[in-house]
């Protein structure tokens, strides 16, 4: 369903993302062409730029009302009536009064107040849902596909909202030397290295790992504990060796070791000899034999750096550490913007939200946005009136969601106070002192 005018306008909008009238014009055409989803996205972006734009809101309402002007959510019929056409409009603004029967037909006469026909909706989307990967009779877990995907990531540090300190440190300590081969050769710096990212959960360590790979133009291998651990003797070590073999074959590559504390936990804490030999194998692979690791950058991420075997942090291994703290105010604003970008929103005060969410992790903010969406959606289901996500939904969600980083700082306090002789956690200590967490 390609329309040259729409394609041309889409390119124009991409070239001038801040041009709201142009974007609305495109949205208008998309609605006319029956491409409601794309129209809603355009309207949402327009509303991000100008939350009070009446035309955008009206157009959003039309787009949401569906191709027939109906809605996918049918208003509940008043008591004793069965025909939706006779239903009085519910209280509150309605983007476009439905003139025709709803897209999914009339509600069943015995329907409950919430009369959305989920079965019908699911059958409608079944055509676009992906098919099962394996046909019946095959074992879904048995596959010849390698367990580890070598990815190409287009993310860069520019995609990481806020966190300027983290980005500066990453650039200075890791990325700049790798990106400047001449300087690197001049100073005799090898094209290998490791870094340990640590901080409270949900603050973007994995995202930063991907961004490092993108920034270096390297491949990306994400390794979790589940990819390595194996019950059978020697299998976990073999898995570690396989990962590094794959990495060397795909250099330059960033090997991202998620939950490195579990994978490379202190051997003094490990009762299982299997885990100990796995840590030993990891150390061997990190050292590489005769410079085999050229072009292999290992980035470990952990919430509990104090449980990581000290041997993993010796020079040549994960010898640089970077604290990834909960996002600062600009970062929180970016994260809110990101999570609300594809949703129908109006009148959102991102500045207020960012200011009110001090101590929230990125995951917490995502949860706030999700909760707010649920609230708006459920109200739509209940009343039959589709409406956009508003500040009141986000405020209500904020009242429910508590920052998840508190327990992490409680644990970290013990380490910072009593086990920081070598100054490893000085950065964390300074942050905690500054934020009265110590």
């Amino acid at each position: 369903m390609s329309n040259p005018l729409i394609e041309s306008l889409t390119r124009a909008v991409e070239a001038a993302p801040g041009d709201v009238p142009l974007r609305l014009h495109l949205a208008e055409l998309l609605v006319a062409a029956g491409q409601q989803d794309a129209a809603i996205t355009q309207c949402a972006v327009a509303l991000q730029h100008e939350p009070g734009n009446v035309a955008a809101r009206a157009l959003m309402g039309r787009a949401m009302a569906g191709p027939d002007g109906g809605t996918s959510v049918t208003p509940p019929p008043p008591e004793g009536t069965a025909a939706p056409a006779a239903a009085a409009p519910p209280v509150g603004p309605q983007p476009t009064p439905p003139s025709d029967p709803p897209a999914y037909g009339a509600p069943a006469p015995d329907s409950s107040p919430v009369s959305f026909d989920w079965t019908m909706a699911e059958s409608d989307v079944s055509e676009v849902a992906p098919e099962r990967m394996f046909v019946a009779g095959g074992d879904e877990q048995a596959t010849d596909v390698p367990a580890w995907d070598v990815e190409r990531t287009s993310l860069t540090l520019k995609d990481v909202g806020g966190m300027s300190q983290v980005k500066d440190r990453l650039t200075a300590a890791f990325i700049a030397p790798m990106q400047n081969p001449e300087l690197r050769k001049l100073y005799g710096k090898s094209l290998r290295g490791g870094m340990l990212l640590y901080g409270p959960p949900g603050c973007g360590k994995t995202f930063i790992g991907r961004a490092i790979a993108g920034e270096l133009g390297a491949h990306f291998i994400n390794v979790g504990l589940a990819d390595v651990l194996d019950m059978y003797i020697g299998a976990s070590e073999r898995n570690v060796a396989d990962i590094f073999r794959l990495a060397r074959a795909n250099a330059p590559v960033v090997v991202f070791l998620d939950e490195v504390d579990a994978l490379g936990q202190k051997r003094s804490l490990t009762r299982s000899s299997g885990m100990r030999t796995t840590v030993n194998q990891l150390l061997t692979e990190l050292d590489g034999i005769s410079g085999q690791n050229e072009g292999v950058f290992v980035v470990g991420a952990t919430n509990q750096p104090w449980d990581v075997d000290p041997a993993l942090r010796r020079p040549g291994r994960l010898d640089r550490t970077l604290l990834v703290l909960p996002p600062d105010q600009p970062a929180r604003e970016s994260i809110f913007r990101h999570h609300l970008a594809q949703r129908p929103v109006e009148g959102i005060d991102l500045g207020w939200l960012a200011k009110s969410t001090d101590g929230f992790s990125g995951a917490d903010i995502a949860h706030v946005c999700e909760t707010a969406s649920e609230k708006a959606l459920m109200e739509g289901v209940r009343t039959g009136v589709i409406r956009m996500i508003q500040m009141k939904d986000l405020k209500a969600a904020l009242a429910e969601v508590r920052p998840s980083t508190g327990p992490w700082f409680d644990s970290a306090r013990n380490v910072v106070q009593f086990a920081n002789e070598d100054g490893t956690y000085n950065e964390l200590r300074d942050y905690m002192k500054k934020n009265r967490k110590l």
């Binding site: 009779g137 095959g138 074992d139 879904e140 877990q141 048995a142 504990l225 589940a226 651990l229 194996d230 019950m231 504390d261 579990a262 936990q265 003094s268 804490l269 490990t270 009762r271 299982s272 299997g274 885990m275 509990q304 104090w306 449980d307 644990s411 013990n414 380490v415 106070q417 009593f418 086990a419 002789e421």
Partner: protein, 362 residues
């Protein structure tokens, strides 16, 4: 044979979950371990390893009853496992079920007579039951089986100096010797350092005990027991200083009062020197033993020990009043000395409150 492959896949998943749960338990992340084990148990409720890991997680989360229930289920599934009975003995001991702990310990030893950990656990259970001779024999056997294991030496120390007892000096010396060996094997073994501190505290060497506890906390900052034990050491130091000043004040008031009821000038001077001297000496020695973290321990003490903090404040107020009476003119000297009685008495009352509370907590 797809079905067979599927079962193999399920099996691998369960085994993987058990490994993961064990790893999380060993890191002290019992809530996560329980989540992993519970999810896997939903698909395979008959896996004894998963039951063990769930039991360990429950124990770590402070639910020994549930832990014991799961261990009995695991033992029913795998009755020949010495490990299950050993852990069961440990859990029963935590709950104070001494006969059950001994029985499970004996079963573990029968099933695996060359397992040093089983003998060590049996020794602990026997010691708590009061059968000291058998406990020492069991701990000795554990050391014979694994002479280079810190765990067996710590078990012997626990047998010689069980918690809440006052053993003879010879036993304390033997316990100290075994802990020394444990620390030779693992210099930063937090349990051994903690036990060494207990021995020093029993001998009345509070400051030295504080030094060992500081090392234990440094080795394992996440376990709060050592920090609480440091509070006990602080309390014992405050108690000793308080009672010394209390007795000095009482004696000097009774013996050295002049005809008019006033104390001679040198009395407040002696009290002031004693007060400042005791407090200063303790602080200096603590500073020497805990050079880096004294402030952090004191802050923790203030946060956890309200009564202890008040008691310390009373002690400080007493010392201040002694000093004030020593330098004050004769007209107010006696009044200030009398006022010093108030914080001294308040401290005494607080000491009784503290003792009552700790007894209730036990």
């Amino acid at each position: 044979m797809p079905g067979g492959d599927g079962r193999a896949g399920d099996r691998a998943g369960v085994e993987h979950a058990a490994l993961r749960a064990e790893s999380l338990n060993s890191l002290g992340r019992h809530d996560q371990a329980l989540a992993v084990a519970s999810r896997a148990l939903a698909s395979d409720p008959g896996d004894s390893e998963l039951l063990i890991q769930a039991a360990v997680a429950h124990l770590g989360l402070g639910a020994p009853e549930e832990s014991r229930r799961l261990l009995y289920s695991a033992a029913a599934l795998d009755p020949g496992s010495a490990r299950i009975h050993r852990i069961l003995s440990f859990v029963a001991l935590q709950e104070g079920l001494l006969a059950e702990a001994v029985q499970a310990g004996l079963r573990a030893v029968q099933l695996s007579p060359f397992d040093s950990l089983a003998h060590a656990q049996l020794a602990r259970a026997l010691a708590r039951q009061g059968d000291r001779a058998s406990a020492v024999t069991a701990a000795g056997r554990a050391i014979e089986l694994a002479p280079n294991s810190a765990e067996t030496h710590i078990a012997m120390a626990d047998v010689l100096f069980p918690d809440g007892t006052r053993p003879p000096k010879a036993d304390l010396a033997r316990a100290e010797e075994h802990l020394g060996r444990a620390l030779q094997v693992e210099p930063s073994n937090a349990a051994a350092l903690n036990d060494l501190a207990r021995i020093h505290l029993a001998r009345g060497h509070g400051v030295r005990a504080a030094g060992h506890l500081a090392s234990a906390v440094r080795a394992d900052p996440m376990t709060e027991v050592m920090q609480r034990n440091m509070d006990v050491v602080f309390i014992s130091l405050v108690a000793r200083a308080h009672w010394v000043l209390f007795v000095m004040w009482f004696v000097t008031r009774q013996v050295f009062r002049e005809g008019g009821g006033n104390s001679p000038r040198w009395v407040p001077l002696v009290l002031a020197v004693a007060g400042l001297g005791i407090i200063g000496w303790v602080l200096l020695r603590l500073r020497a033993q805990i050079p880096a973290h004294l402030g952090a321990f004191v802050r923790g003490f203030v946060r956890r020990e309200r009564v202890g903090t008040l008691w310390t404040a009373c002690l400080a107020a007493t010392a201040v009043l002694f000093v004030a009476s020593a330098v004050a003119p004769d007209s107010v000297r006696e009044g200030l000395l009398l006022w010093a009685w108030v914080p001294l008495l308040a401290g005494a009352v607080l000491s009784w409150v503290r003792v009552g509370r700790s007894r209730r907590q036990r």
